[in-house]
Amino acid sequence: MSAESHAATPARLKPRRSRSRLAARRRRAGMLFTIPVIALVGSLLLLPIGQTVYYSFTTWNGFEPAQWVGISAYQRLFSTPEFVSVLENNALLVLAIPVAVALPLAVAFLINAHVRGWRIFRSVFFLPTAVSWVVIAFVARNFFDNKGILQSILNGIGLGFWHPDLLSHERSALIAVMITFVWSMFGTNMIIFLAGMSTIDQEIYDAARVDGAGNLSVMFRITFPLLKRFVQLAVIISLITAFSALFSLIYVMTSGGPGYGTTTLEFFIYEQAFTQQNFGIAATAGIVLFVGVFVISMIQVRLLRSDD
């Protein structure tokens, strides 16, 4: 209270002009302090994305001047046979999302029961989040390899006659990538759900118990509906990760192969630009990726708003 009166008195005594001078100073300081972020993000993020938009309409090898070809650049991209299988791979990746969300959701329920040692379980399950995709990819390659861990597990349980050899076939290699993705996303999604569960008021549970609700009906009638927003968030984050953060995993684990079996859109962009010098096609694909991620993010923003 004394601080309040201390703050109020001099301000009231001050003439009007000095107050507006203060406001001007504040505005100027605000703008000055914004300069670094505008310079950095503007020159190294917004400028290049603008350039990508321009180059997406050109034929360009990165060295000679780009040649404007207009909208036909997009027709060219979509009529490239590899690009169709790339889009197919991205569509197939979406199939991993329900698993990548449902498993951590189930485990978050178990941890949220706060059995003894739940903090340790939480730390352990979240640990892969700290590990580089490069490292994960090395282990995953060894796991799924024909002579790898998976095969020796199969040998160990008497299924040695079966050789899944996932990495040698297009579709099964993508499945191996998807399994690795689910493993790595586990911690992040679990943390999202635990954060969501901690926002639910304990009293709601107590009231439900008093009314005689069992464990399962509490889960389906109370926890799930209240977690809806967090499930949406986990789906969106998993989707964005699958579409735009798996480059290192694919680079080390499968190099996009066999064939184009594990070449996703982001890997295709890298390959077109930096191994085939098709900077124009890569830029066109870059814009397709950007639009995809942007649409997904907009859905998220819309969903958040509609909940209010």
Binding site: V41, L45, S132, V139, I192, A283, L289
Partner: protein, 278 residues
């Protein structure tokens, strides 16, 4: 009858709890197995690995002979630290300006910077590469430092702006009355108050930058400047199938980020969940 049903309920609860533990233990094995595999395999020579028995430090010797591991760790450290310094410089000032001071267009600036979070790296990396190559920045540390700084700043700005917004306005008023200018308020009052948010940004960015591959792969093409992830991913083909050596290298690369995670996981979790509470 009352007695037996109460005993039955207790037994039901106990068996339920052991089911929960059983499930959690299965997940623990799935999550930790890769780490155990890395450690065990790295402690075997290639022949021991194929034989499936015996232990030695051969692969660790081989790793240090085949790759300039220490140099690469130093490179990773320099790049990560440099980028984090830039990210902090840009995002704390922006957080102060957009969260506390605010001015006519500050919400527009915030919206633009925050939506830059959505730009996937692959969608901007081609012109970025060409621009920086034209400036002659390729194979200099500051190329990846600048790129990582640009990629990390939007989320850091988002985090710090929302953090500063929650600080009471009285803090500024009181400092003004004490005769501080807006610059001094930033350094003497706001920065110390923002330490928890700053630690969160540092931890998140450390893990992200340390673990990244693509930027280093493109912008640093000489072995002397490579970060550890690039060194591993582009390991010379004669070592490509040397699984024990690769596992030793993977461990070296993973350990710093794991250490940061173990010490600061509270901040990491907070950073991740902060994006959710609008």
């Amino acid at each position: 009858m009352g007695w037996s049903s109460r005993g039955g309920a207790a037994m039901w609860r106990r068996s339920q709890r052991s089911l929960v533990y059983a499930a959690l233990l299965v997940v623990t094995v799935v999550m930790l197995y890769p780490f155990w595999f890395m450690v065990r395999t790295s402690l075997r020579s290639l022949t021991q690995y194929y034989a499936g028995s015996g232990y030695s430090l051969t692969s660790w010797h081989d790793l240090f002979a085949a790759l300039p591991v220490l140099r690469e760790l130093l490179n990773s450290t320099l790049i990560t630290a440099g980028a984090i310094v830039l990210i902090l410089a840009a995002s704390t000032t922006a957080g102060y300006a957009l969260g506390t001071l605010r001015y006519r267009f500050s919400s527009t600036v915030f919206l633009v910077v925050a939506s830059a979070m959505m730009v996937p790296m692959q969608s901007m990396i081609i012109p970025e590469y060409v621009n920086l190559a034209r400036l002659g920045f390729i194979n200099h540390y500051y190329a990846p430092i600048l790129v990582y700084a640009a990629l990390g700043t939007p989320f850091a700005t988002f985090l710090l702006t929302t953090y500063f917004r929650r600080l009471p306005e009285d803090v500024i008023e009181a400092s003004l009355i004490d005769g501080l200018g807006y610059g001094k308020i930033f350094f003497r009052v706001m920065l110390p108050l923002a330490v928890p948010a700053i630690v969160t940004v540092v931890v998140l960015q450390f893990i992200q930058i340390w673990d990244d591959l693509l930027v280093g792969l493109l912008f640093l093409q000489t072995p002397q400047q490579r970060p550890i992830t690039v060194g591993l991913a582009t390991i010379p083909s004669q070592h490509f199938l040397d699984v024990p050596m690769l596992m030793a290298g993977s461990l070296v690369s993973a350990l710093p980020a794991i250490a940061v995670y173990l010490v600061f996981q509270r901040y990491l979790i907070r950073g991740l969940t902060m994006g959710m509470s609008k």
